[in-house]
């Protein structure tokens, strides 16, 4: 039991929170700009490297100031870069067929990655070096303190997303445009502002998710790409254009990935951990076959 919770369930929830944050941006871009953004994972990686550089620059080595000070600054820098990318590469294609935008984002995925690899090299790095304190509870629960901050931070950001989408004019306009871009235009909603807000939200959350992942594991130029497929799967599972669906989808995929290698039957892992990354894909295929609109009734294209 203790093993199950400490080594499978808790890591699953951590991974799930990270996927959830990343998938919100994917699903909102999918819903509002109407395309699957392949560069989203690289946005995340870029954000992580910006944060890593800030850590080196300031010499801050402890978790709380990294999350409270450096992470927001990195989020802002990532957002600025993504807005520039939108202006240079996506905006000129706004009237093009959706699939051209997908190709453009595919190209940007490699362009951003090459910039990251050029600037920072491909060696593994760490944001939070050294051994981290653990928390022991109720005799059997044991997890690193940083997990508390990751889950807490993710919940806080998700609440912020909820607040923006429910109570602000631009947030409501984002949901409206995700429902129907055509009607949003007929209603006089300033669609360019909504597009900008979408990038701001997506890029900010991607950077945060990346920093959480980097705090939990390591900094690596492929880290964003490695979780691109799980984020897509989370967005599709939750229903495209549905931010709450993406959050739930992210948690489901994260937990499912970790639980897949638990020894449910016999002594060995149920699934070879080498195939963990395949879980997201399998869930995605099942949902596409069974209910393409996702659990939360998103768009059916």
């Amino acid at each position: 039991m203790a093993e199950f919770i400490n080594f499978y369930l808790i890591p699953g929830l951590i991974l799930g929170s990270i996927y959830a944050l990343g998938a919100i941006g994917i699903t909102m871009t999918f819903g509002i700009l109407r395309f699957a953004n392949f560069a989203h994972g690289e946005t995340m990686t870029l954000g992580v490297y910006i944060a890593w550089s800030l850590v080196q620059l300031t010499g801050i080595k402890s978790l709380v100031p990294i999350l409270l000070v450096l992470m927001p600054v990195s989020m802002m820098l990532t957002i600025m870069i993504v807005l520039l990318i939108d202006k240079a590469f996506y905006k000129p294609l706004r009237a093009s067929p959706v699939i051209i935008l997908v190709i453009a984002s595919f190209g940007l995925m490699l362009m951003i990655r090459s910039v990251t690899q050029f600037s920072w090299g491909v060696q593994l790095k760490t944001i939070l070096p050294g051994i981290q304190p653990r928390i022991n509870l109720l005799d059997f629960l044991s997890f690193p303190l940083k997990h508390v901050f990751i889950v807490g931070g993710a919940l806080l950001l998700m609440y912020a997303v909820h607040h923006v989408l429910t109570y602000t004019k631009i947030g409501k306009a984002m949901r409206a445009m995700s429902d129907s871009p055509e009607l949003a235009r007929l209603t006089g909603i300033n669609t360019e502002n909504v597009v900008m807000a979408t990038w701001v939200m997506g890029a900010g959350l991607a950077c945060a998710a990346g920093v959480f992942l980097a705090v939990d594991t390591q900094v690596d130029t492929m880290m964003g790409f490695k979780i691109l497929l799980p984020m897509f799967a989370a967005a599709i599972l939750g229903g495209v254009g549905k931010p709450y669906g993406a959050m739930a989808g992210g948690l489901v995929i994260g937990v499912a990935e970790e639980l897949s290698s638990y020894h449910w039957i016999g002594d060995g892992p149920l699934l070879n951990p080498g195939y963990k990354q395949g879980i997201a894909f399998a869930i995605m295929i099942i949902i596409l076959l069974w209910r393409p609109t996702g659990l939360f009734k998103g768009k059916s294209f």
């Binding site: 409501k172 306009a173 409206a176 429902d179 949003a184 007929l186 209603t187 006089g188 300033n190 549905k242």
Partner: protein
Amino acid sequence: MRVLELDNVVGGYGDTQILHGVSMHVDAGEIVVIIGPNGAGKSTAMKAVFGLLKLTDGSVLLDGEAITNTPPEKVVRHGVCYVPQTGNIFPSLTVEENLEMGAYVRVDDFKPRLKEIYEMFPPLLEKRQQAAGTLSGGQRQMVAMGKALMLEPKILLLDEPTAGLSPKFRGEIFETVKKINRAGTPILMVEQNAKQALGIANRGYVLVDGKNRFEGTGKELLNDPEVAEMFLGGGKQSHKTGKA
């Protein structure tokens, strides 16, 4: 006073020309109905007002000023509201959020207007926190119209508001249209149910093949044997065949 005028409008989508010279106008306080066979360009004429298709000739005037080929997001700001036939609400937003979106371009306080809209459509007040997509067809039309009225538009354009509704709801919608009009908003409406629509209209236009064919007051068109034969169908037609 002339609110809206289309003067010999020509246009279409891409290479396909649909409107070959359509003229019509709406005066203050009027309900004007466009009827005609399928493919006559009724909805297209309405979209022409809203900047949804490229006009190659002719002009659209609002309060005497040209708004020809103005994109829809700007036409809204001029005080023209358009309710498309389908996809006219944001289904995942609540009823109230839909109405708020209707007021998106307003910078002043729209709360009093919201109250007026709820007074005009009492069923919406009850369901204000419900996702608009979960409402019945008739109530969705109310949301769509209410959303458009949030702007207190100079003119309201309705594209087949009764399409797909049962006769009972259809009657309700026509009553609503009359109510909106009595409250001071001129209305230009495309309708398939020509007879009922002409019954509440001040005037009507009959479009055929992208051109004006007939025009007159609602009564005139209802009583015109040619119009009756072509478009009104129903009782009158069977009456005729009975005679023959």
